[in-house]
């Protein structure tokens, strides 16, 4: 099958040196941290963007920051590409390797190093899963706010790479708003610490730049994250509508009225059917669109907020309103929503788009999306974070049908262009990866991209870190002569 997305031509010279590279890596790492057998490499040949696969040269799973530094320095010295990897749950191919690359996985670095309640911070290793932070502080009444659907598996390192969001970021923000500091290994093996428990570190906002940089600027090995006091209670309410348009308009009105619920999630009929079949969450089946609106606080607060939201929903002709009556029901409602991708995967292959649009454009983009899908003769299920305009059309197709696969990718590209043209962006929380790399020019001018690539080169002069991602392969700035010699000069000076 021909692939729509191109990979960089692997460096044959690196591949030929594989035996020597493997033996060098073995010297840098303790027993059990190096994977080179083909069958053991297979789990690393893709991530959650499964249409594309490449076998890496080797996989290393270091146990310490110092080991990450040793491997990265070695790879930089020898011009070997490096693919940083968390749990491999990227939906955009951010962790897909290449034949001439060493994968550096942080999965063994999975300890919570410190929990500091008075300063509302936790210091964790990069391989800690997202959910385990909240679990560790739950008994003390705290949580870590960003909650991507993959939170059971995905790592905080990966979250930082993709600036992950989740359903509850309408109120609490995404990873970048909850990240206080990192320890990071630079391309040359030097280890830097940025930020920490003190807010707003001095100088340029390197932390803000690193968050969402998709593993191109360094490898984060530790993070200081914000802990927030858990709300007293939370209550998701289901609102069923006769049309996606009314549901979309209701979202805009809720936000515009001055109420910010903790989450507003949207599902269209196909998504409702898929999720209900999987989770038996009690979603209404006789509606065209569903909103899950979650409010939180004490009972009195939630009542006050819901009263206003219900009033707005009535104005938009809401057909069904269903409040969760117990913690179990509330959990089921979220289980249905958070398993949307998995549940979809049981009935068809799918690709998940991640464009974000201004709230006022929601209805327009939903309509145009279904036109695009019809045009290609495909099916779509829409399930997304409506409160912040972050859309997730799941395009359903049969991966065994090459023509349909290609159509799905083309439909996806059309939808993302639609999002950009509506004043939005290609990706809200999944990252560019390889998936959206070649669409970057639709959102950015050459000057915009060149500026980003120059910044990238300031961190990674040889472009060894996750080199095939984010920036279109054509017209790259390339490695910048001068930077390396300045670095060397800087070292001597230091």
């Amino acid at each position: 099958m021909s692939e729509l997305i191109a990979f960089q031509e692997p460096d044959r010279a690196v591949i030929q040196r594989r035996p020597a590279i493997i033996s060098d890596l073995a010297n840098l790492l303790p027993e059990g941290c190096l994977i080179t057998e083909e069958r053991e490499l297979v789990p690393f040949d893709t991530d959650a963007f499964v249409s594309y696969r490449r076998m890496p040269l080797a996989v290393v799973l270091p146990e310490t920051t110092a080991q990450v530094a040793a491997v990265l320095k070695y790879c930089n010295d020898n011009a070997i590409p490096v693919i940083p990897r968390g749990a491999g749950t990227s939906l955009s191919g951010g962790a897909i390797p290449q034949e001439d690359a060493v994968v550096i996985g942080v999965s063994k670095m999975n300890r919570i190093l410190e929990v500091d309640f008075p300063n509302r911070a936790a210091i964790v290793q990069a391989g800690v899963t997202n959910i385990s932070i909240s679990q560790a502080v739950d008994a003390d009444g705290f949580f870590y706010a960003p909650d991507p659907s993959s939170q059971l598996a995905c790592t905080i390192g990966g979250n930082i790479g993709m600036n992950s969001g989740g359903a509850h970021c309408l109120k609490y923000g995404v990873t970048t708003n909850n990240l206080m500091g990192v320890k990071m290994v630079m391309f040359d093996g030097s280890i830097v610490e940025i930020g920490g428990k003190a807010l707003d570190a001095a100088g340029y906002d390197l932390l803000g730049l690193i968050c969402g940089s998709e593993g191109q600027l360094g490898i984060v090995t530790e993070a200081t994250v914000r802990l927030i006091a858990k709300p007293e209670g939370a209550r998701p309410v289901l609102f069923g509508f006769e049309s996606s348009v009314s549901a979309g308009a209701c979202v805009t009105d809720i936000i515009g009225s001055g109420i910010i619920p903790v989450a507003i999630e949207f599902m269209d009929k196909p998504a409702i059917e898929i999720c209900e079949a999987f989770a038996q969450a009690g979603y209404p089946m006789d509606v065209e669109a569903l909103l899950i609106v979650e409010v939180e606080g004490s009972d009195a607060e939630m009542d006050a907020m819901l009263e206003r939201i219900i009033e707005i929903a009535r104005k938009h002709g809401v057909k069904t309103i269903k409040e969760s009556q117990s913690a179990t029901e509330a959990a089921l409602i979220w289980k249905g929503r958070k398993s949307a991708f998995g549940a979809t995967g049981r009935i068809a292959d799918y690709i998940c788009m991640d464009g974000t649009v201004p709230l006022g454009q929601l209805s327009h983009v939903l309509e145009k999306t279904s036109e695009i899908i019809d045009h290609y003769g495909l099916r779509v299920a829409n399930v997304f974070h409506a409160g912040d305009g972050n859309m997730h059309p799941l395009i359903l197709f049969d991966a065994n049908d090459p023509e349909e696969s290609l159509k799905a990718e083309m439909a996806g590209n059309d939808i993302l262009k639609l999002c950009v043209d509506a004043g939005g962006c290609l990706t809200g929380e999944h990252g560019v990866g390889i998936e959206k790399r070649d669409l970057m020019r639709h959102q950015y001018t050459d000057a915009d991209l060149a500026q980003q690539m120059r910044v990238r080169a300031a961190f990674d002069p040889k472009w060894i870190l996750n080199p095939s991602k984010v920036f279109p392969l054509e017209g790259r700035n390339g490695s910048q002569p001068g930077i390396q010699s300045e670095l060397d000069a800087g070292k001597t000076a230091a």
Binding site: D205, L209, K230, E301, G490
Partner: protein, 405 residues
């Protein structure tokens, strides 16, 4: 501040042209908005200045989208007025530096973001940088560049938006900014806990932030400064103040719970309405130290539980007055005489790390003392490489943040 020649471009293209010309003649540019923060940072080393004050006007605002875009020179007052009409606000409460610095002029929205100026709500709503969604700017090569956009969630490429926030005009001249706005809370009240010393106050604030009552401001005003706030109406010794905001019924419930907890720690009282609002503005703008002098004032950021330790240690060595915001993690220090930069920075390290910015000092001091916290060598080298990638000839605000950069 000795720049003689100020240019006022009226379009982004004109900004680009002026930068290109400056590059051709290798002459550096002092970048400014309304000029209210010119006294902050190392003194300008440029012969000519470029003001964005005439790039002015709100360019996109749909209240129901919670987003506004404005040209960089738009007066902050104009933006706040437009938001107020729709019962909205800038949630990060940008500090007005004029009272403290004794400056005049009109703060601009570009200046707010260039300085990453955030106020008391920083601890709950994020900094200016967290609310900036998109920028357009002219880099040091005269190229027009955009980053980010007008949506809340965006991970499309490198986040240059964050980099521009707090870069003090050294990476590019911002021409337009797009930022998040939020509904104004229906009600706000301030719980005052009186009589706590600095250490007790730190514990009380940590306890308040650990409760599920959504504190949106937590400051401690020691005895020495208390008479400067709320028209001298705060009685009963030092005041630890905690702000609650939101829907009325919700604030009522949360106030009760917070009062119950805090009454075990000190004497409690409640401020509301204008009094509460004025108090937080005074904290935001560091009013106790807006004394018409040039006594050095530091803004120190440390872990919240370390703030009072820092102040206690400094008091043994030098004359210093202090109060706390951000749950105790933001320490405002007014030095009696010398800025004592080495001492302040050495003690910050000793209490666990953080950073100090010399917000106010005379020009001679600012030229000789690092105004911004010096970075460790590898990070400083990295910052220099980044600067080079935006402004290879070093034309934009040279030396404003770091000597020789």
């Amino acid at each position: 501040m000795s720049a003689v020649d100020i240019q006022y471009p009226e379009t982004e293209d004109e900004v680009a042209r002026l930068v290109t010309e400056a590059k051709a003649s290798n002459s550096s540019i002092e970048v400014r908005g309304g000029g209210t923060r010119l006294g902050l940072g190392r003194p300008s080393q440029s012969a000519s200045a470029l003001s964005v004050a005439r790039l002015s006007g709100i360019t996109n605002y749909d209240p129901s989208e919670l987003v506004m875009a404005a040209l960089a020179g738009t007066p902050l007052a104009e933006i706040e007025a437009a938001l107020a009409v729709n019962n909205q606000m800038l949630t990060f409460e940008p500090m007005d530096h004029r009272p403290l610095l004794g400056a005049s002029g009109e703060p601009t929205i570009g200046g707010v973001f260039a300085a990453n100026a955030s106020g008391p709500r920083r601890i709950s709503a994020g900094a200016a940088r967290d609310n900036l969604l998109g920028v357009r700017f002219v880099n040091g090569s005269g190229e027009i560049v955009k980053s980010g956009g007008r949506v809340m969630k965006n991970v499309t490429g490198l986040d240059l938006v964050k980099l521009m926030a707090g870069s003090w005009g050294t990476l590019g001249i911002m021409s337009e900014v797009t930022f998040k706005v939020l509904p104004r809370p229906e009600t706000a009240v301030t719980i005052v806990v009186s009589g706590l010393n600095d250490a007790e106050a730190a514990e009380a604030m940590a306890a308040a932030l650990a409760m599920s009552v959504e504190v949106s401001g937590a400051a401690h005003l020691p005895e020495s400064v208390i008479h400067k706030f709320a028209g001298g109406s705060l009685k009963g010794g030092p005041a630890t103040v905690l702000r609650l905001e939101g829907l009325k019924p919700s604030v009522e419930v949360r106030s009760e719970r917070l009062l119950a907890e805090m009454s075990r720690r000190g004497t409690v009282s409640v401020l509301d309405g204008q009094t509460s609002q004025d108090l937080w503005r005074e904290i935001r703008d560091v009013i106790p130290f807006a004394d018409g002098t040039m006594k050095p004032v530091w803004k120190v950021s440390v872990a919240p539980s370390a703030g009072h330790q820092l102040v206690a240690a400094l008091r043994l060595k030098t004359g210093v007055d202090a109060f706390y915001d951000w749950q105790g993690g933001l320490v405002w220090l007014r030095m009696e005489a010398d800025p004592e930069a080495d001492l302040v920075r050495q003690y910050i390290k000793a209490v666990g790390g953080g950073h100090a910015t010399l917000i106010r000092a005379d020009a001679a001091t600012r030229a000789s003392v690092p105004v911004f916290e010096p970075q460790p060598k590898p990070l400083e080298a990295l910052s220099r490489r980044i600067k080079d990638q935006f402004d290879p000839a070093g034309l934009l605000n040279p030396g404003r943040m770091t000597a020789g950069m």
